[in-house]
């Protein structure tokens, strides 16, 4: 066991912090702020693009990806350290949710050569076409179809919550290629450009819109989308992995998306915020930080946040040793999001009516992040595998508990 970073890793962290101090300047932040980022990914205006170029030149993008695909061939902890520092200032540098892990695992050489360097340099970005109106947690129930027509597939259907679809260059789409097969066995994954004819993106405004949430809010996105596919013709080379084997490919990507610095931080940022806030603030002489009940709660939450951190470290350790998760990634995906909710809700009861104030309101505390978090924190227990599905996985894969009669019949 070793619970410390090496001196080299500590030095790297300081180096990244120094870089951020020098380069993540107010004019760059202006491009990443919630208002201006409405119609493009945060951090992808011209100034932010220049920043990314610098970050790339420092070797801090695509750290864990092989050199022949534009990565650094580095380890996961290096990625973790760099990602943690940049995530804290609202500059995403990770490839979670990008489809990159699945492309590395299942892509053809040509696909890897085309997509991975582009994703790393952030010239290519994927939106994820998974969820449908009738397929959420039970994703395998999806209906969006891809029908083979010579050297092409023709896509028809609708995808929900395609966040970033309005500015992504490509889509990572899960579609049904065999209607007659059992539901998990007729699914395939396709990668294709968003400017392919027949794609319509319509905005869905979230409860975080108007006012938009401050940076660092858990699920602070003001906008997501629904995306329609109307006879969208794509070459058969867009298929990722084998036809009808997409379920397995999709899960590979997701499993790696559930762990890492950014997933960890979305659940614990408020712990730091509230401690730092009560240390130096009071309401007309009343200091919440001196209230015994609040102090006890803050300590309790802080401990939970440590467990989030340590579970992330456990996942890192498993991956670094080249092992596979049995249940550990799923366990982390239960504990951390639920902690995020607990801390968010506890803070509302520490701040009382101030907890209701949103960004731009008079008297808003820390830009209204605590109020916005009430609307967002529970989302992290839903997205990328709900906590209920994750508990199923812990129980069945981790503990070997049997499937119920009903689900055995359904899986049939």
């Amino acid at each position: 066991m070793d619970f410390a970073y090496t001196p080299q890793q500590e030095a790297l962290r300081r180096e990244v912090q120094q870089f951020i101090k020098e380069n993540v300047t107010a004019d760059v932040a202006e491009e990443t702020n919630p208002e201006s980022a409405m119609d493009r990914p945060r951090g992808q205006g011209p100034k932010a693009a220049a920043l990314y170029k610098k970050i790339y030149e420092r070797g801090w993008l695509g750290i864990t990806y092989p050199k022949e695909y534009g990565g650094q061939g580095g380890d996961r902890l290096t990625q973790y350290i760099v990602e943690e520092e940049f995530t804290r200032v609202g500059i995403p540098v990770h490839l979670g949710g990008s489809g990159a892990p699945a492309i590395m695992a299942a892509g053809t050489e040509e696909q890897k050569q085309y997509y991975i360097p582009g994703l790393i340099k952030r010239e290519i970005s994927f939106c994820l076409g998974f969820t449908e109106p009738h397929a959420g947690a039970d994703l395998a129930n999806l209906r969006c179809s891809a029908v083979r027509d010579g050297d092409y597939y023709v896509i028809n259907g609708q995808k929900m919550y395609t966040s970033a679809a309005h500015f992504s260059t490509h889509i990572y789409l899960m579609a049904r290629t065999d209607r007659n097969a059992p539901k998990h066995e007729g699914i395939s994954i396709f990668l294709f450009p968003m400017d392919t004819p027949g794609i319509t993106v319509r905005p869905l405004w979230t409860i975080q819109n108007n006012p938009t949430a401050p940076d660092g809010t858990t699920y602070g996105n003001a906008r997501t989308n629904e995306t329609f596919f109307d006879d969208v013709r794509i070459p058969k080379s867009c298929l990722l992995g084998e036809e009808n084997k997409g379920w397995r490919v999709g899960s590979m990507g997701l499993n790696l998306d559930r762990v890492g610095a950014s997933r960890y931080l979305i659940s614990v940022r408020r712990d730091e915020d509230i401690v730092n806030w009560v240390k130096s603030n009071s309401f007309n002489g009343f200091s919440p930080g001196k209230d015994p009940a609040i102090r006890d709660k803050i300590a309790e939450l802080w401990i939970e946040a440590q467990v989030c951190r340590l579970m992330t470290m456990r996942s890192m350790s498993i991956v670094e040793r080249g092992g596979k998760f049995s249940y550990e990634g799923s366990a982390e995906k239960v504990w951390a999001p639920e902690h995020g909710v607990r801390v968010t809700e506890a803070i509302t009861q520490m701040l009382g009516p101030y907890g209701t104030l949103l960004r731009t309101s008079p008297h808003a505390i820390q830009d209204g992040v605590f109020g916005h978090n009430v609307m967002g924190s529970f989302q992290s227990g839903i997205n990328h595998g709900s906590v209920q599905v994750m508990r199923d996985q812990v129980a069945r894969r981790g503990l070997g508990l049997p499937s119920s009669r009903k689900s055995r019949r359904a899986e049939g």
Binding site: M1, K279, I303, E320, V394, L399, L401, P402, S404
Partner: protein, 401 residues
Amino acid sequence: MDVLLNDDERMIEESAREFLDGECSPKLVREMEEDPIGISRPLWEKAAELGWQGMCLPEKVGGSNMPLVFLGLVLREAGRALAPIPLHCTAVAALAIAHDGSEAQQQKYLPDVVTGKSVLTWAFTEKDPRFIAEAVHMTAREKGDNFVLNGSKLFVDSFLGADHCLVVARTTPRSKGGNGLSLFVVDAKSKGISHKTLITLAKDKQCQVDFKNVQVPKANVIGPVGGGWPIVERMLDRGAALLCAQMLGAARKDIEMAIEYAKFREAFGQPIGAFQSLQHNCADMQIWIDGGDLLTFEALWKLDQGQPASVEVSQAKSFCNEKCEAAVRQSQAIHGGIGFMMEFDLQLWFRRVSAWTMRMGTTYEHRARIARALIDVPGEVVLGRPLPAVLENAGAAVANA
């Protein structure tokens, strides 16, 4: 950074488990509950042959000078098997002597600990159960070459089997500030000592120990006279972290029994473990015990590095207190009525885990300690980075406020 067990650690764990699987059955645990002293001497001696007692003691007294993390792994296994041996209390006292005792004191007491000849225990708590200096009222007055101890200690672990007891007493009157404590190694058979056995949830023979004019030679003071509190704090931190390890071992075994039970016990035409509500309970139990393990071994590891670890210890203990209790209670629920039956073994684990959650610092005490370090010391906190000041400073800041 690698929070998983390395090969050496894995080997320690496996060999301890294998040994206890062979040597410590629930039958032995039950026998020792009925035994007036409650300690299996043969098991204690065999443990010494494996080097458990001397594991973290210096080589010069026959120990192996291994990290505390290793002892944590052994205690986790001892907890798993509910081994009726006084390993925890002996280690707490012996480590205090090894860290803060003189060369002569180490040579006098520790070789017999290593060989399994001697059992040690420690006595801090009195009527006021908090782990603060002010809770100690027992007095030690200088008289010639001796100190004379008067007062009463409670919840003394394994006192009936102990040869020596590390006693915390007040050498400076309370009126002159709370921290004037000293540590004494006291022969458990000294004249003037009497005891009453407490009847506890764990049936573990803790004692009230009364001291009436007990003469203790000055040579038996551990550390400086009046300067005992920092030594006691370190002792309690080590003790709390090691107790967490022991508690987690027992709680892990307990939930494993519940999970196995759920796989074959049928109701409504299927194993109860196939019901999702129960699966989700079990998933939570697993997550809680895993969380406790991570917190505990981080605390032990930091103690090994000589880093400030009070916050980490308190994190571990308050988390384990709540989560281990909840986990074993859910195991009871999964078992239904049978878990409530004396003849069914599960209760042996349930009662002990429950009892251990109440020892060495309550959830609230430990959280208060964490809150002081988080809130009362100026400077920004960042998760995963050291806090602005170590807890000792925080404590001083509060005391001075």
